[in-house]
């Protein structure tokens, strides 16, 4: 399969169109939605760059917390939720809060890197 332009380049081109052409010609609600659309593409670009490494770290932590050799992150998170709901893991469990914090920081670095709570968490 060809990769020229790459998915990343195409998204960058559309984002540039939204930012430099569409947004300045739109008004009111449409202009607002164009900005939301541009931000959504920025999220996709960050995700493409950051998700593989972040998810690998998340998988390792989840396997250690749950003493599991499952490799699917979705299945591991489902299992973690069940353990918490059953009261087998809580805030006092060693490593749980640290894991949740690391995972949420990685998630927010993709979703909303400018959010104030991320600065608080980094302190």
């Amino acid at each position: 399969m060809h990769d020229a332009p790459s998915a990343k380049e195409l998204i960058e081109a559309v984002k540039s169109f939204l930012d430099k052409t569409a947004m300045v010609q739109l008004q009111g609600h449409a202009a607002f939605h164009a900005r939301v659309a541009s931000n959504a593409l920025a999220t996709v670009l960050r995700e493409m760059e950051q998700r593989p490494a972040a998810e690998a770290r998340e998988r390792e932590r989840l396997q250690a917390l749950l003493k599991s050799d499952e490799t699917n992150v979705g299945a591991l998170n489902q299992a973690l939720c069940e353990e918490i709901r059953a009261g087998k893991l809580d805030l006092a469990s060693p490593g749980l809060l640290t894991h949740l914090k690391s995972t949420t920081i990685d998630q927010l670095s993709v979703d909303q890197p400018g959010y104030s709570g991320l600065r608080t968490a980094a302190r």
Binding site: A37, L80, L91, L96, L100, K101, T104, T120
Partner: protein, 348 residues
């Protein structure tokens, strides 16, 4: 949540011409025959209620007013717990009587009348955008008074005798955990931080307070602020009978501090100061630690609400990019919850 059903009704019946005709008739009755309506314009595109601004020109004066109206003038059974317009008008009257800064109600219009189910209230000048209130120089004096004014307003709302109120839903802490947990479980999207929050809330639930009138959405965005401070408390749609700490904590939820996280009260104030103003104005005496449980409840609640808004995209009810993108804001509430849990560890 947007529902196509309402849009159909609005398209059929909600024309500005019909409203202007009905308002003119009302104005002539109340202000005398030469009264005229000017500048009628729709302010919000909300699916649940219409909000219109207009002026009545009569007796060589111009009075700025607001019309709140059911979509198309006809209320339909709604899935949410939002109160009816008649209830909203009654709440404004009851809190006005208790000395809370609210817009005075001029007229309540019944379903089936020319105007439809609606009420007319005074239009209060000022700003509602949180970022502007927290940042702009013109609100510097206002910011220095806002903590005091909010403490007084909350104490006033919570002091309204329940027997003076229309029928309202009752929702205390446990009820809210159950309600939002049910919504969260229905999505089938597991989020471990939310699981920890639900479990922690259940394990640490405080003794319920004596139930009072709770505004339900008391925060920047729903408060009109002018150069002198709080001008009026708006948006009573989520009012209910509940725990007073819910209102105090909701004003503290980080989502409404608009980046000014160091000021726990709405990005502008100190919680100790707010609680002092609240107690001095006749409210119960609370310590900052009494608010923690409800702030965690508030952050979790807003996270579940963001999931619900994304759900409207997922089901196709609202295909806008805005509804899709809000699903990537749920992690904001997750980090707020984690910061709150770490704060509890430090206090312990």
């Amino acid at each position: 949540m947007a529902r196509p059903f309402f849009r159909v009704i609005v398209a059929k019946m909600g024309t500005a011409n019909d409203i202007e005709k009905a308002l003119t008739e009302w104005a002539r009755e109340h202000y005398g025959a030469p009264a005229a309506i000017a500048g009628l314009r729709r302010l919000s595109g909300g699916a649940s209620q219409e909000t219109w601004a207009f002026e009545v020109n009569a007796n060589e004066k111009s009075e700025p007013l607001i019309l709140r109206r059911a979509p198309g003038g006809v209320s339909a059974p709604r899935g949410s717990e939002a109160v009816t317009l008649a209830t909203e008008a009654a709440l404004l009257a009851a809190t006005d009587k208790a000395g809370v800064r609210v817009p005075g109600v001029r007229h309540v219009s019944a379903p089936g009348s020319l105007l439809g189910e609606a009420f007319i209230m005074k239009r209060i000048d000022g700003e509602t955008l949180g970022r502007k209130i927290l940042r702009d120089a013109e609100f510097e004096t206002a910011r220095s008074r806002l903590t005091q004014h909010c403490g007084e307003a909350l104490a006033g709302i919570h002091s309204v005798p329940l027997e003076n109120l229309p029928e309202l839903p009752t929702s205390l802490g446990r009820n809210q955990i159950d309600k939002y947990e049910a919504v969260y479980r229905e999505f089938g999207l597991p989020r471990p931080v939310f699981e920890v929050a639900f479990a922690w809330l259940k394990a640490n639930e405080p003794e319920p307070a004596k139930p009072v009138l709770v505004h339900g959405d008391f925060r920047l965005g729903n408060l009109i602020v002018d150069a002198n401070g709080l001008g009026a408390v708006l948006d009573w749609e989520l009012a209910h009978i509940g725990d007073p700490r819910e209102d105090i904590a909701w004003l503290c939820v980080n989502s409404w501090r608009f980046g000014q996280t160091e000021n726990r009260v709405g990005g502008f104030g100190d919680l100790g100061d707010l609680l002092d103003a609240y107690a001095a104005a006749g409210g119960a005496r609370y310590r900052p630690a009494d608010i923690d449980w409800w702030e965690i409840m508030g952050s979790l609640k807003w996270g579940v609400m963001c999931m619900t808004m994304y759900g409207a995209f997922k089901t196709g009810a609202d295909p806008s990019v805005e509804r899709a993108a809000i699903g990537r804001r749920v992690s904001e509430n997750e980090i707020d919850l984690i910061n709150l849990f770490e704060g509890l560890e430090r206090h312990a």
